[in-house]
């Protein structure tokens, strides 16, 4: 077993280092026709907030390059979700029946809301951990307050998903502040033209959102190389991982586990391929 929360009283053991990233895989068994969940370490849910959130208005996705020929895309969904109570009503029984543990990704807004959501998720069968999602412009103190709030009202291990541009500022402080693990990183913010081809004389629109691309992998590896050995807690690598060699590189650079993000929409089977590949791969050869 792989331990994602060695400092926590209950721990967070998972059988495989491969997980879907928050926002990529739904809340429960959405992909059950296409992915054998048993090969995964855990299900990381779509983002959940205390109160319901509606989807962003207007266009929500923009692809780099003309006719889908580019290397990535920007998505801005607004993190729509029905709120923690309704998610629990809809998913509790599904989560209980899943063959893998569930990590709920919590949208950390204010300390009080975070605490109330964490309290409601505490004790839910098969929910073994929380992953806190932070806004990109967050300060160190606010991140620590949100972490403390999540830990104060619940007894679940708390993983913090660190914004792409804030790793240097946040990662060491969150580790000192009691985070059980860190997910490095949330996708970076980016802007793309809303349409690849300009339309007549109309002013061109641009979409601001999160960037998903295999081209992020070298940036992720740079972050892992810089931080994994310095942090006293497990690191979960996320961003641009699209193949077994990518996953192996992340583990070799010190990550304890990996998350596959929106790149799995193109090839859901990649989760299973990477998990099965890593199971055959001799992880003992990975240097400490």
């Amino acid at each position: 077993m792989i331990e994602l929360a060695p400092r926590h009283k209950f721990g967070l053991p998972i059988a495989s280092p491969v997980m879907p990233a928050a926002g990529a895989f739904g809340y429960g068994d959405t992909y059950h026709d296409l992915v054998d969940l048993r090969v995964l370490g855990a299900l990381v849910t779509n983002p959940v907030s205390l109160n319901p959130r509606e989807a962003a208005r207007g266009q929500r996705i923009a692809i780099h390059g003309e006719h889908n020929a580019g290397c990535g895309f920007v998505a801005h969904t607004g993190l729509p979700n029905p709120g923690v109570q309704r998610v629990l009503r809809q998913q509790r029984q599904i989560w209980e029946r899943l063959p893998i543990p569930v990590i709920v990704h919590l949208i950390a807004t204010t300390p009080s809301e975070t605490a109330r959501a964490a309290e409601r998720l505490s004790g839910v069968p098969n929910v073994v951990g929380l992953e806190l999602g932070l806004i990109d412009s967050i300060t160190v103190q606010r991140a620590l307050n949100l972490l403390a709030a999540a830990q104060a009202e619940g007894d679940l291990p708390v993983i913090v998903r660190v914004p792409f541009g804030s790793v240097d500022a946040l990662a060491p402080r969150l580790a000192e502040g009691g985070a059980d693990a860190l997910t490095l990183t949330a996708p970076p913010r980016a802007v793309l033209p809303a349409s690849a081809v300009p339309e007549d004389e109309a002013p061109r629109h641009y979409l601001r959102g999160r960037l998903y691309s295999p081209a992020l992998l070298p940036l992720l590896l740079n972050i892992l190389a810089r931080w994994c050995s310095k942090l006293p807690i497990p690191v979960i690598a996320c961003g641009g991982i699209a193949s077994l060699p990518d996953a192996i590189a992340c583990l070799e650079l010190g990550a304890t586990a990996i998350q596959i993000d929106a790149l799995l929409w193109r090839d859901p089977a990649i989760l299973q391929q990477i998990a099965e590949g890593l199971a055959k791969f001799d992880t003992s050869t990975i240097s400490e």
């Binding site: 926002g23 992909y31 296409l34 779509n46 996705i61 006719h67 889908n68 929409w265």
Partner: protein, 256 residues
């Protein structure tokens, strides 16, 4: 059950203003359903069938679409069939209404029932498909928004028409009253106004009397990504799994 299937690309040829791309596929989607094709880009692309047979389907795509650059015999991985397609029931009189750019997914329905009326709207004459492309039995109504051919659009407009032009809206209301089932394929933001038109022609339309195909980006196809959420009278729905075909009156009509 959603599955990954390997399709074989057969050919692509121009059929202005579209290109036709033909695929062999063991389990093709039905009318209004779709597959997500891996064409090499960062996301799969939704392909709606414009023609379906026992061996596969043909999609009608914009010129220079990635599928038109495939080599015959190429294997294309497809996810699907996906979505809830059109439900015609026992209808014998079918009305099809489309903007020209959104028309292809309605084409498999042209000969689905004995009597079909087709209304196509385009900004101008050059963007209308040639009338001789449709079966002779189909009653065709052409609409242009600049009045360059056929009736004057847009479909839902009630503004008075200039002299020498005839507004399409009364004709559309007549056809809705005539039909036993109506299928729409337009930009999603037009559906509330079109739903109001359906309500004007039919006081209490039966469930699924009028259906609307929502064509928005659907990256995952299974309801995981939240990109394809649409606003409906019953709250937000996923176009990919709850649709992409919706009951227009119950989904988009303004509250009474």
């Amino acid at each position: 059950m959603v599955k990954q299937q390997d399709a074989v690309f057969r050919q692509a040829y121009p059929a202005p203003p579209y290109w036709v791309a033909r695929f062999d596929l063991p389990h093709p989607p039905g009318p209004g359903g779709f597959v997500l094709a891996d064409l090499g880009g960062p996301l799969r692309e939704a392909l709606f069938p414009a023609a379906i047979d026992a061996n596969g389907f043909a999609a009608m795509l914009p010129p220079r679409h990635a599928a038109t650059r495939l080599l015959p015999g190429a294997t294309v991985n497809m996810l699907g069939p996906l979505g809830q397609g059109f439900r015609l029931g026992d209808a014998t009189r079918l009305l099809l209404v489309a903007e020209a750019a959104f028309l292809p997914p309605l084409l498999p329905l042209l000969e689905a029932v004995p009597a079909v009326a087709l209304v196509i709207e385009a900004p101008t004459r050059a963007q209308l498909p040639p009338p001789d492309r449709f079966p002779p039995a189909v009653e065709l109504t052409l609409v242009t928004c600049d009045g360059s051919a056929g009736y004057l659009g847009p479909l839902e407009s009630t503004d008075p028409a200039p002299a020498n032009l005839e507004r399409v809206t009364p004709r559309l209301v007549e056809l809705i009253a005539w039909a036993e089932c109506a299928c729409f394929a337009c930009a999603s933001d037009r559906y509330p106004a079109l739903a109001a038109l359906v309500r004007a022609a039919r006081i209490q339309p039966a469930p699924d009397f009028a259906q609307a195909l929502v064509q928005v980006p659907m990256p995952c196809g299974v309801g995981a990504c939240e990109v394809c959420r649409i606003n409906t009278r019953a709250g937000e729905k996923h176009a990919c799994t709850d649709g992409p075909v919706f009951d227009i009156a119950r989904t988009f009509a303004p509250s009474l």
